[in-house]
Symmetry: D2
Subunit: 335 residues, 4 copies
C-alpha cells in the first residue's frame, strides 16, 4: 500500500497519521516525489480499509499494491482449485457444462429438460425456484415446490443440480441442492453471502452487473472467510452503453482472474446476450479464452417459457454447441 501526502504538511498531522498506520499493524518507509512524501506500507495491508487512511486531510491518495483479499488470491493456492460436485470436477483442466431452464415450471418440464441436456452432454442441471425479477408482476418462481421438482429431476437423471438462493431463510430447502448459486443482483448482499458461506457447500458466485473484478473477488473472500472452500465464479456480462446485447460479456475477465485467483471461472452467455442466436459464438469464445465451463439456459419450448424464453436454446441446439465446444477444447489442448 502506498500513501502520497500533500505538499507542505503539518508535523502534528503527520504524527497522527503515523500513529494510525501503526495502529493498523503496518510499517511505513518513506521516500519523496517532487516534494511530496511517499509512504510505502508493509504488513497485512489486505485487511486495512484504505478509507480510514484517506480520511486524513494531509493524505492525497492511497493506492493498494497488493490484492485486498487473501483467501481468494492466487498466491493462497497457486496450483488452482478444483471444485468437486459429486463426480463432476470443475477447474484445473476440467470443463463443465451447466444447463437447464431459467425457471422450474413443472415436473414434466424440468425432468424432460434434464434428460435431454444430459443426453446433449451437460454435467450439471440448473433451474431457478426463487427468481429475482425486475418487475413485481413477472413470474417469481415456484419457490419451495420448485426445489422439490428440481430434486425430482436430480433423482431421475443422477445429475447434480444448481439453484439460486435469494434469502438466508431458504437455507434448509437447499440441503440437497449440490451447488448454491448467488445471483448477480445479490453479489453484494453480504448478509446472504455470509450465510451461504457458512453452509459449506459448493457455491456459484455470479458477477454483479457493474462489479469490478476486485469487488467480485471480495465477495468470494466473504464466502471463503465464512467457511466455503468450493467457490466457482461466473462471468455473466456487465452493463455498458451498447444496446445490441443485454449486457456485455467481459471475456477479458477470464485471463485476468486466472492471474489473480485460484478459483475456477465459468461464463454465462445466456444472461449476457439475452438472445439465443448469440449463445453459440459466445460459448466458443469463452471456451477459447480459457473459461472452466459454461452455464447455458435451455428450454424444450422457448416460446412457452414462463421467463427469459428469448435467451433459451433448445436441447438440440445445446447438443450441437457441446460438440463444437469440444473441438475448441481439443484445439486448446494441443498447445
Amino acid at each position: 500500500m502506498i500513501i502520497t501526502l500533500k505538499k507542505d504538511i503539518d508535523g502534528q498531522q503527520k504524527q497522527r497519521l503515523m500513529q494510525k498506520i501503526a495502529s493498523c499493524g503496518l510499517k511505513a518507509e518513506s521516500s519523496v516525489t517532487n516534494g511530496k512524501v511517499v509512504l510505502s506500507l508493509s504488513g497485512n495491508t489486505y485487511a486495512v480499509d484504505t478509507e480510514i487512511l484517506r480520511a486524513f486531510s494531509i493524505v492525497e491518495s492511497v493506492k493498494r499494491i497488493e490484492d485486498p483479499f487473501k483467501l481468494a488470491s492466487k498466491s493462497f493456492n497457486p496450483c488452482g482449485t478444483e471444485v468437486s460436485v459429486n463426480d463432476v470436477k470443475i477447474g484445473k483442466g476440467n470443463f463443465c457444462l451447466i444447463a437447464g431452464p431459467c425457471a422450474i415450471e413443472s415436473e414434466r418440464q424440468i425432468v424432460d429438460i434434464a434428460e435431454k441436456i444430459k443426453d446433449a452432454g451437460a454435467n450439471l442441471l440448473r433451474g431457478g425456484a426463487f427468481k429475482p425479477r425486475t418487475s413485481p408482476y413477472s413470474f417469481q418462481g415456484l419457490g419451495k415446490e420448485g426445489i422439490r421438482l428440481l430434486l425430482k429431476a436430480k433423482a431421475e437423471t443422477g445429475m447434480p443440480v444448481v439453484s439460486e438462493i435469494t434469502c438466508a431463510s431458504q437455507e434448509d430447502l437447499f440441503y440437497d441442492i449440490d451447488v448454491v448459486q448467488i445471483g448477480a443482483r445479490n453479489m453484494q448482499n453480504y448478509e446472504l453471502i455470509k450465510k451461504v458461506g457458512q453452509m459449506k457447500k459448493p457455491v456459484l458466485l455470479k458477477r454483479g452487473i457493474s462489479a469490478t473484478v476486485e469487488e467480485w473477488l471480495l465477495s468470494a473472500e466473504y464466502l471463503l472467510t465464512e467457511g466455503a472452500t468450493d467457490v466457482i465464479l461466473c462471468e455473466r456480462g456487465i452493463r455498458t452503453f451498447e444496446p445490441t446485447s443485454r449486457y456485455t460479456l467481459d471475456l477479458s475477465s477470464v485471463p485476468v482472474l486466472k492471474e489473480r485467483t485460484h478459483l475456477p471461472v465459468i461464463a454465462d452467455p445466456s444472461h449476457a446476450s439475452g438472445n439465443a442466436r448469440f449463445i453459440e459464438p459466445l460459448s466458443l469464445a469463452a471456451a477459447a479464452v480459457g473459461a472452466d465451463g459454461l452455464m447455458i439456459e435451455v428450454h424444450s419450448q422457448p416460446e412457452e417459457a414462463l421467463s427469459d424464453g428469448a435467451q433459451a436454446i433448445t436441447p438440440e441446439a445445446l447438443k450441437l454447441l457441446c460438440q463444437k465446444v469440444k473441438y475448441i477444447l481439443d484445439a486448446n489442448k494441443k498447445f
Copy 2:
C-alpha cells in the same frame, strides 16, 4: 406496448402469438411498416413480461410505450406524495436535510453528532448499524447495539432517525426507527424489499449503482405493492468510467423522476463523490435541480471515523452548507 414482427412469417406461428397476447389479457391492433406487421397492444401492459412475447421467434422487437409500473407512476397520484416522518415533511415543496455519520461508533459519537447537526439545521439523523462493506475485513457496524445507540440519540434530540436494514431478520430491531433505508447494493434484493414493504413504514430507497431509472422505480413498485406508501427515492450516483468521482451523481434523474413518479426524490452527494470537498457544490446543484432533500454524511472528527471518513464533512461545514442551500431554495421559490 408495440410488437414488431419479422418479415414473411408463418400464419400458424402468428396465431400462437395472438393466443399468447390474448392470454395476457391484451388486445392487438395491427398496422404495417415497410412490410413488417406492427401490433399495437392495449390493456394492462404494465403487468406483462415483455420477454414472454420476445420468446416467439417471429417477434423482432417488443417496445413498451407505457410505464412498466402502476403504483409508482405519476398518473397514480398526479399531485405528488408528501411523506411525513413525525412532524418532518418531505416532498411537495418540503425540503429535508438528512445528516449523520456513515456508521454509529459509540454513544458519545452519535449523540454528539446528532446535537450538532440539529443545530446546523438538519431534519433527520442518519446512522448505520448494519454496514454492507465491500471487504470482509472492514468495520461491519455495531449491529443491534448500533440501533440502540441511534435510538438513544433520537431520544436525546427528538430527531427522527434513518438507518439501513440489510436482512429481513433484522425487522424487529427497526420497530422504532422512523425511516428504513434500503441501500444501493440491495436495490435489487427483492426478498428484502418485499419484507420492508410489509413493515408499512417510510422507506428510503437508494438507487443501485448501475440501476436505470426504470429499474429503480420497479423496486419502488415492489415496496408499494407490499403495502408501503411513503417511499423516498435517493439518487446517490451511478458507476461510469470517470475516475475523479467515486460515482457520477446523475442529477438528470431528478427532473426525469418528477415526470414519471409521484414519489419524492432526494440526493446523496457524499456517497456519489466520495470526497468531502465536492459535497457542497453538488448539494447546491441538487437543490437547484429540484430535489426534495439531501442526505449528507457528517462526522465530528472525520480522521477518526471507522468508515468513509474521507467523504464526511464536519458539523460546522454542514451549517454553512445549510445556509447556502436555503439561499438556493429561496431563489427557486421566486419563480
Copy 3:
C-alpha cells in the same frame, strides 16, 4: 510518479530501467512495500509517457502523482483565467450565456434568433455551419454559406459568435468568428486541435462523450502548447447506461475542474439531455454547482428545425430561464 516493481527482480533489468528513467530526465528514490521496491520519481514527470516505463517487464505498475499537463494545470495560473470575447468576459465570476440554433438554416432564421436571444439576455450567439452528423443522410449544415449568415447576424446584433470547426482546411472561414468550437466528436482529433491552437483565438473545447477529465485537459494542453491562451471547457454529458437522457450531464466535473485547472468551464444541458423539457432544471443546477456559463440551443420554431429540434427551447423559454439563472447566481453571491 511512482513505480512499483515486481518481486524478485533481476539486477540487470533493474539497471536498464534506471537508465531509462535517467534518460527521461527523472530522479528516483527508493523504498519498499511488502518486499516490492517502490520508486518515487522526481522531475518533469508530466512530460513522460508512463507506457514507456510500463513496457519493462519488471514493472508492476506506474502511477502519476501529479497532473500529466502543465499549461492547463491550476498551479500554472492559480487565480484562474478570464477569457475575453470582445466585451464579454467568461470566468473568474463572469457568467456567460451562449445561445442559438443547432444549425444555421437561413438568414432570416439566424438573424431572428439572434435578436430574440439577445433580448432574452444571452451574451454570445452560437450556430453551426459545419455539422458532424452521425448519419450521412442527415442535414450536414450550410457550410461556408452558414458562416456568412452567422457573421450577418453578428453584424446586425453586435453579438460575438461561436461556431464549430470540423476540418483544418476551414481555418480561413473562421477569421471573423469570435470563438472557435471543437466539438465532442473531435475532442481527440489532435490534428484539428493543433491547427486551432495555432489560430490563437478563443476556443470552446467540448468534452468527448467518453473522455475522462484528464483526457479533456490534455486536449486543452494541446491547444495551449500550440499558442491558444483563451480556452473554455464545455461539459456536455457523458455516455452511460441510463437511457432517459441522451447523455448524463456530469456536473461533478465542474468542481473537479475548478481544483485542477485555471480554465473556465461552462455546461451544455441541451446536448446532454437531448430533451427541451430538462434544459431549465439542468441549467439551474449548472449555475449552482459553479459553472462559468451555459450553452443552450434555441430555435424560434423547434418543429421546423433542420436538426435537433427536440432539444431546442424557444426564445421565450430562454428569457424565463435567464431570469431564474440570475436568481441562482445572486444566491451564490451571498455566500
Copy 4:
C-alpha cells in the same frame, strides 16, 4: 419507423406532423395502443433523421425498426464482402493476421519486425507514422518519414501495409499504402472519413471507444456513400468501468455485426487490453467467436518501444499465437 403520439392531441398539430412525414417521402399507417396513436411509417426510413420528427411536441417517441443505413446493411450484400488487399483476402472465410509495431521508429526497426512477423505467419504489416497521442508530450510518430520507412519494409518483404491517417491533408502520402486506417479517436471525424472514402482504397475502420455498433456502421456508411467498397471493421474494446483492462473487448459485437452487415470484422486485442499477457487468450476468443482476422502489436524489443510497449508481444510470441489461432480456426471449420 414507428411513431407514438401523446394522448389527447390537437388535430392541427397532427396535420402538421403528417405533412412533415409526407415531405420526408414516407407513408403512415395508424393503429392505437391504450389510447395513444401509433404511426407505422413506410418508405426509405433509413434516410430520415428521427430528430426531425421527435421535435414535434405531440410526438412521444420515434423508434426505428430498420437499420439507419443501407450500403453497409447485410441485405445490401447478403453473401458478405470479401476484401482483397493485393493477394490477401479478408472475410468470407478468409482469416487475416495484421501485425507490426504501434509506431514506426526507424528503418531497421520496421524492416526487422516486418521480416519476423512474415515468418511468424502474418499477412499484413501495420505501423503508425501519424500517432494520435493523448498527451502532447508523447512521441507523435515520424510522420512523412515514417510512411517512407513503412513502404521500404513493404518493398523488402512484399507484405501489404496498413497505416493510420489522421488528417485529410495527408492523402497524397498514402498513395502506396494498401489499407488506410481510421483510428478509434477519429471514428466520428466525418470530414476525414469522407475524404478517405473518396480515396477508394481498402479502409480499416476502428470502433470508437464509446461508439455503439450502429454509430460504427453509420461511419462505415459514410465511407461507402463516398465511394469506398472495401471496408474492414475493427473491434478494439469499449470504455467501461472495469479497470483491469484498458478497454473491454466487446466480442459480442462480432456475431451482432455478422447479422447486420456484409463487411468483414476483425479484432484488436492489443489496444483493448493494453497488456501483452492477455493478447493470446483474447486472440483465441476472437477467432472462436467468428472474427475475420486479428490486428496485433508486435515489437522486437518492447522495452525499447517509443510507444505502447506494454501491449506489444514479441515476434516469437506471435508465431506461437499464430499456431494456436490456426488450431481454433481448424476446429471452427469442422462444424
